[in-house]
């Protein structure tokens, strides 16, 4: 054991420890300067486009606040979960304990949110979620609010749509994650309870790239239609490979198909139908679309809209209360009247879910998702 190396090692670890402690303390001292809100998004991993959309929504919401001269405009601290639960939990701990954040707007990914729930119950932190749909999140924690409707509604909505299209024999391809499995249960229950039959049911892992054997299976089974409950990147691959393998089938997808990746499949996406929360209507929505168009050169999708709403609601609450005390915000959210969001009215029930949720039908035409028909459900 050479003494120099030992010395180097000991001093190095000392320095590291000091940095450790110092970084912790320095953050503590800067606590009261400005209110910050956190956001745990997907920046990497499957479905990365969600993160980009959310940020755009947040940016526009901040712009809106500035145009209204709101006094309290917080900084947004972003964190990336990469759709990885343990990473999401680590980031949640970092945001809440290192950065001392008490208000989080957006924890993308039902799986990540599920992993954070047990922590949330023991923490004085409020979460206002924009995009998670898993049914089980309803009883996540008393301080968890979301403005995205639960899967249960969407499952039966999709099943009804399929029956309306005259499907009797259907296939179902879903992704093995919290969202996919929740949707699969909803759709399957809704469809089979009303006389439909699921003949091909395939659960795929997130990293699957080669869909050809499932495609052939679907082709061989001669189905009326197919439920495609997978993430956007996978959906793009599915569409391209179905073209190559000659699969022509009426396809209904879940709200994940909103992702831009699907449109990038080009012609292959034409005719693809999916359900997603209603984009909203009225003045708020039009203003938002106009702004979004000006800023990013395209129409906003439901994720951008929902994120915009979540952040706007957060801003309103913060300015109303002039603080980010979680309990105060919670009381505010539960007590408030209907908040007119771009994606429709927002009001919470006692579980922090939306009282009213509206789904809409979309179809891809020329690489763009177009609203088909309005449909309201409670």
């Amino acid at each position: 054991m050479s003494s120099i190396n030992k010395f180097t090692f000991v001093s190095l670890s000392l320095v590291l420890a000091v940095v450790f402690i110092f970084s912790d303390c320095s953050r503590k001292s800067s606590e009261s300067k400005r209110i910050q809100v956190g956001a745990i998004l997907f920046e990497t991993g499957e479905a990365k486009s969600y993160g980009i959309k959310s940020k755009r929504g947040y940016d526009l919401a901040l712009k809106w606040a500035k145009s209204r001269d709101l006094s309290l405009i917080p900084d947004i601290l972003y964190a990336d979960s990469g759709a990885d639960e343990s990473k999401g939990v680590a980031e949640f701990k970092r945001l809440t304990e290192v950065e001392r954040i008490r208000f989080i707007v957006g924890i993308t990914g039902s799986g990540v949110a599920m992993a954070i729930c047990p922590l949330l119950r023991e923490k004085d932190v409020l979460v206002l979620e924009a995009l998670d749909s898993a049914a089980k999140l309803t009883d996540c924690a008393p301080n968890f609010f979301r403005i995205y409707p639960s899967d249960v509604i969407q499952g039966s909505f999709l099943a009804d749509w399929a029956l309306e299209l005259g499907w009797k024999r259907a296939g179902l391809v879903y992704i093995h994650n919290a969202w996919g499995e929740g949707m699969q249960e909803g759709v399957e229950n809704g469809f089979t309870s009303k006389g439909g039959q699921i003949l091909v049911k395939e659960g795929i892992q997130q990293n699957l790239t080669d869909f050809s054997s499932i495609i052939v299976k679907v082709r061989a089974a001669e189905l009326d239609g197919l439920f495609l409950l997978i993430y956007p990147t996978g959906a793009r691959r599915w569409l391209e490979q179905s073209t190559a393998r000659g699969l022509v089938i009426t396809t209904l997808g879940g709200d994940a198909l909103t992702g831009t990746e699907v449109a990038q499949a080009g012609e292959a996406s034409n005719g693809l139908m999916f359900s997603a929360p209603h984009p909203g209507e009225g003045r708020e929505y039009e203003q938002f679309v106009e702004q979004y168009m000006k800023e990013f050169g395209e129409n906003p999708d439901v994720y951008a809209t929902k994120s915009y709403d979540a952040m706007r609601l957060a801003l309103v609450a913060l300015n109303e209360l002039q603080s980010d005390k979680p309990q105060a915000i919670k009381r505010f959210l539960l007590a408030m009247d209907t908040f007119e969001g771009a994606a429709g009215p927002i009001r919470f029930d006692e579980n922090g879910d939306l009282v009213e949720a509206r789904y809409a039908r979309y179809i891809y035409e020329n690489g763009e998702a177009i609203l088909v028909q309005q449909n309201t459900e409670e």
Partner: protein
Amino acid sequence: MEVFLKSLPAQIANGIIVGAIYGLIGLSMLLISNVMKLVDLLRGDLAITGAYLCFWLSALCGFPFAVSITLAVPLTGVLGLVVERSVYRPLARRSHYAPLVAALGLSIAIQGALQLLFGPEMIGFEQTPPLLPKVAEWGLIRLSRLDVILVLSFVLLTSLLHYFLTRTRLGLGLLAVADDEEASYSCGIARNKVYSFSFFVASSIAGIVGILYGLQYGLEPGAGFGLTIRAFIIASLAGSRGVLGAAIAGLALGVVESVCTGLLGANYRDSYTFLVLLVLLWIWPEGLFGRIQKRYARI
């Protein structure tokens, strides 16, 4: 079951198409694992990097696609050479597993770099859609132009490599180093030259695989890992020196994946491969085309 039997030929055809990619990346791995006796965790990432290079040249720099391929493939080879020189060569002398950490580090770094340069989203070649129309169709089997190109390049590359390894001087030198390094050293075969050369060839092949993979499935920064695992499985199955072994193992892997997915569903897709691998290795411990060399093999 009926549906499965009806779709069986198509599943096998699918398997062959996937297997062509697996076989090629397996070949690339085999060259390296035999010559340098190490586990190369970078194979898939190199392949994906090659594909990104090609994408960059064609879509962003505006070169014609053919030119981009001819530039990107040797560039990937050179990249492999750089990795070999800077990381593997100093480490390979230490132990089989020492390069593993460095390779993992580089793999993470490469993924980060690709993400930084090209964004985290999936990227598709604009050359893909024109290649999708069908060439032939029998029942459920449907071959697109891309499939034909894939299988053809697989056959071509495999036979080229086989010819090269068994008929040319350099190739035989490579085999000699793979067989017995010290003996070949005393025969006057320059070991380092063979290392560099095999890395260049293997990485060039990886580049081609990457481009084919990108055309077929699209590109993502993290796509390399799956390829690496497949390559590793095939190199394990292929036995000590078989190019043909690797080719067949690749096809077999593809077919097993496809047929089992067709029969049993996609839920356990990754397990099928390993189950088959376990059974095969139980029967032929030295791989499909290996020979038992040790006197005390069973102790």
